[in-house]
Amino acid sequence: MADVKVDKTLDVRGEVCPVPDVETKRALKKMESGQVLEVLIDYPLSKERIPANVKKEGHEVLAIEEVGNSEWRILIRKK
């Protein structure tokens, strides 16, 4: 998914639970419909919980890529 234009990047690696999830929710709220948010995380629980929760809100999860040792990049398109 290297060709998707990212409108905002949220780097929440190393953060205490549940900061990654809360920051993701807040960032999406401030964005326009159709924009893409890139979330960088290293917390396994958030890697599994963020996609489930944003999908529930109606947003689209474009990709979950492993970009390093226990590091992931989640691409979300706001509904």
């Binding site: 190393g14 639970c17 549940p18 809360v22 396994p44 629980l45 599994e48 919980r49 040792n69």
Partner: protein
């Protein structure tokens, strides 16, 4: 033998906690903050199974049930403090313990201060304060049967003078209806499925009850607080016991499990203020757990299956404390 069996039990628990991402803080908080019940269901399933497993093991003569005492003031105050502490520390007692093994530096700090303040509350300078906060401690004469002899904490069964199997079966049935009969939040990934996590955690709980009472001189299933306090006491000459061995096992089990799934990483927050927050959280966890005579494992996961009034009351206030602090920290715009 005591320390060894505690260590092995801890390793198994550490693996289940890491693979299942089983943090009670998240389980409780996610219900409100994200309307997500995935982890909560794993906890409820584990409790439901233990509610039947423990009396079954006692009926077979393998163990004797030892419910925690009823400490109305301490359960409420300690429960609230512990609930606040969980959210500030970014994890519950077992959560910060297993995440220590995953490499989260915030968990290291939270766990260290949890142990320090727990030890201070039980044996040190906070002891008189905690004693005051606890208030009266109520125990009853054991009715025998599947309960251990001597003084025990009152349970639903002992208060109603009925066979303990009756409330156990009813309670387990209600929980099982809830976990399997209602909608579950979605989840995918490399972690254990919630059903697997709940079942395995309960089985490790049964193993803990057996080995702790037979080899560890400690008649109770899984616990966390006593273990950390024991570890800190060894620095001043104390001996490592079953529960201390369990904590070491959890850290190593979680470490090995994380390593195997490439989830071990030294993680540091961008803002160093996070360290201050988790230190305060850890202190609240320690004081709260000793005031309530048990943490999310001792009172909640291990205690509720006994249907002990003290554990039920403490657990209620763990949840309320958690929701209040989660709202204050993360719920407001």
């Amino acid at each position: 033998m005591g320390v060894f069996t505690g260590f092995i039990t801890g390793i198994l628990f550490g693996i289940v906690l890491q693979r299942g991402r089983l943090c009670f803080n998240s389980a409780i908080r996610d219900l409100k903050l994200f309307k997500d019940n995935y982890l909560w269901k794993a906890v409820m399933l584990g409790i439901a199974i233990e509610t039947l497993l423990f009396p079954l093991m006692a009926q077979a003569g393998w163990i004797h049930l030892n419910p925690k005492p009823f400490i109305p003031v301490g359960d409420i105050i300690g429960g609230l403090l512990f609930g606040f502490g969980m959210v500030l520390a970014g994890g519950c007692a077992s959560g910060v313990t297993y995440r220590t093994g995953e490499g989260l530096t915030t968990a290291w700090l939270a766990a260290i201060f949890y142990g320090l303040f727990g030890a201070a509350s039980k044996y040190g300078f906070l002891k008189p304060v905690v004693k005051f906060l606890r208030g009266p401690v109520y125990k009853i004469n054991s009715p025998g049967g599947i309960y251990t002899e001597g003084k025990i904490g009152p349970t639903i069964a002992t208060s109603l003078h009925i066979n303990p199997w009756i409330p156990a079966i009813i309670f387990a049935a209600i929980l099982l209806w809830y976990v399997f009969g209602t909608k579950t939040s979605e989840r995918s990934g490399k972690g254990f499925n919630w059903i697997t996590t709940g079942i395995l955690a309960a089985l490790v709980g049964g193993l803990a009850y057996y080995t702790s009472s037979h080899f560890g001189g400690r008649n109770y299933p899984l616990g966390i607080t006593g273990g950390w306090i024991n570890i800190f006491k060894t620095f001043t000459g104390g001996k490592l016991n079953w529960e201390g061995g369990e904590i070491l096992g959890i850290i190593i089990g979680a470490f090995l499990s994380a390593l195997a799934s490439k989830e071990f990483k030294l993680r540091m927050p961008r803002n160093p203020m996070a360290y201050v927050q988790v230190v305060v959280g850890g202190a609240f966890l320690g004081i709260g757990a000793v005031t309530a005579s048990g943490c999310n494992i001792g009172n909640f996961f291990s205690g509720v299956p006994h249907l002990a009034w003290g554990s039920l009351l403490a657990s209620l206030f763990f949840v309320l404390g958690n929701w209040i602090m989660a709202y204050w920290l993360y719920g407001r715009r």
